[in-house]
Amino acid sequence: MRAPLRNAGGLGASAALLAVGGSAWAAGALDGPATTQATNWSAIGMFLAFVVFTLAITKWAASKTKSAADFYAAGGGITGFQNGLAIAGDYMSAASFLGISGLVFVSGFDGLIYSVGWLVGWPIVLFLIAERLRNLGKFTFADVASYRLQQTPIRLLSAIGTLTVVAFYLIAQMVGAGKLIQLLFGLPYLWALIIVGALMIAYVTFGGMLATTWVQIIKACMLLAGASFMAFMVLWHFSFSPESMFRAATEINPKGLAIMSPGSLVTDPISAISLGLALMFGTAGLPHILMRFFTVSDAKAARKSVFYATGFIGYFYILTFIIGFGAITFVMTNPAFYNTVVGADGAITFDKVKDLIGGTNMAAIHLSEAVGGNLFLGFISAVAFATILAVVAGLTLAGASAVSHDLYASVFAKGRANDVDEIRVSKIATVCLGILAIYLGYVFEQQNVAFMVGLAFAIAASCNFPVLLMSMFWKGLTTKGALIGGLLGLISAVTLVVLGPTVWEKTLGNPAGSAPFHYDNPALFSMTIAFVGIWLFSVLDRSQTARNESAAYEAQYIRSETGLGAAGASAH
């Protein structure tokens, strides 16, 4: 640790100078007032060690990345176990680590409802999608959706679906990243964005999928180790009795016994089901997750990777639940973690929820200091930074692949592009997306972006997932049906989110109760629109092309079930 700490000198000192004065924001994964902290040297040191290590891996990956298959899919040489870790690394974002433990910190049981929803999509991915995807596709899920349909319209639709999901997800991550890093490391917001953007561009352009995969694997190990340690320390304190931990928490949390049962998170059944559908099927439509299945050699490895990923992610969500309750008992009792008010009589007072330094999403971070001291706080801060990097790198690679493999190679060059051109376009797209992400992160700094991850899931569930599922399972699907149904799903998801309470009232500032659409999550409606649209316009399509597409299903079906002829990314 010593060398990186010394190297950090210049950066840290100037950062501290620039970061004078605190200011307040309310946004995104990190809502609530946040103030710039004093420069945290152990955090910066550990983060620099991570950066040096991952850049060394990127250099190694660059030497092995030559063909398009290497760039998009790491040559298909990732094992099932490695891919399982990488999927977990791609999926466990800083928002879910800090957001869920923060939610448990405030409301207890309600946090569990979200974490359950984020997990249950994985078995569905395994049972319906993973193996077929691997058998049919090469680099992107559009390979599968357009397998027997017309290339141009379906690639275009998939690219639009991919890029919208990536854009909303990326904005939420970038804004969260800027604020988190500002808070943890004492770096100015824009600097934080530029560091994240530059590192992400470096990983993806030089090291492609291989470097991205290893960044995700390392981050997953760091996050799981750090969270395990915190949960262990909390349980140890209570002699490994959850009952004593829960009892202590109910005595400390202002909501008392209410934290042990469902609260206000889910109000009516329609909202509950709609949210459940978006979380469950959105997972099966996220382009950066689907892309990970092309990095393994065959369907068997694809299947194993979901099994490992489900185990790691499920374990992680159990940890966040313990961490949230641990934070109630360790953090809520310690004024050092709060912006306190000293009364005339000298008594120190603070609100156990509102006055937490950095907002309630900082609960896990404060807990790390409470259980492991300053050094461990530094480690968890570095993990949070690494987490963001791993997620944005995966997103950017998925976006760049949609631009180069779907738009450029298939739509623009009509399949006549060579590997070298395709990789070059992909790298240019990565740089553009990286710069765009920094710009959007900057523009949206003051906006409430919390709804964007939910919107990304809703679009994935209403556009990408229905088209992909129907292309695999329904003989009667036609190009027209997929195109119109997919677009209807996409448009209705976006429209209903804009007309819903979160955006209409809280973001656009219209009076409460005026939102034309009453539910926060549109998935129940937009998914129905998408599936009905796909079915209706396929059935109505009586052209010769439609008949040919339906006749081509047989060959696709046999390949998707048996893997016959599926060489894909591993061939070189």
């Binding site: 049981f109 009952e243 829960f246 299947r303 489900t310 047989e554 046999i558 048996t562």
Partner: protein
């Protein structure tokens, strides 16, 4: 991958068997996951009081906690059942089918 080999697979009883068995397992397990998860969600929406009942009269731990943990563990167990079955029976059948074409 000439059409002949497709027809050959299509007419192979082992292929019909593989697709039938694997399809049934995937359907049943998906259904199990949907029932478990949406059952939990509906309990959250309609039976908040039930989930908030303490397990023992003297304790604070509610029934909702083990039920929530059960949903998480069940997701892992269901994937495990599928993978165990696929790694043995289905892969064996599949490789026989592919061998028959060659």
């Amino acid at each position: 991958m000439e059409p002949a080999s497709y027809a050959q697979i299509r007419n192979n009883p082992k292929f019909t068997e593989l697709v039938r068995q694997r399809g049934a397992l995937a359907r049943n397990l998906s259904l199990a996951m949907l029932v478990i998860y949406f059952g939990f969600i509906l309990l959250v929406a309609f039976a908040k009081g039930f989930l908030g009942t303490p397990i023992s009269a003297a304790g604070v731990t509610t029934i909702g906690i083990p039920i929530g943990l059960f949903v998480i563990v069940s997701a892992f167990v269901l994937t495990g059942i599928y993978v165990a079955k696929a790694n043995t029976t289905f892969d064996e059948l599949n490789s026989q089918i592919l061998k028959d074409v060659k």
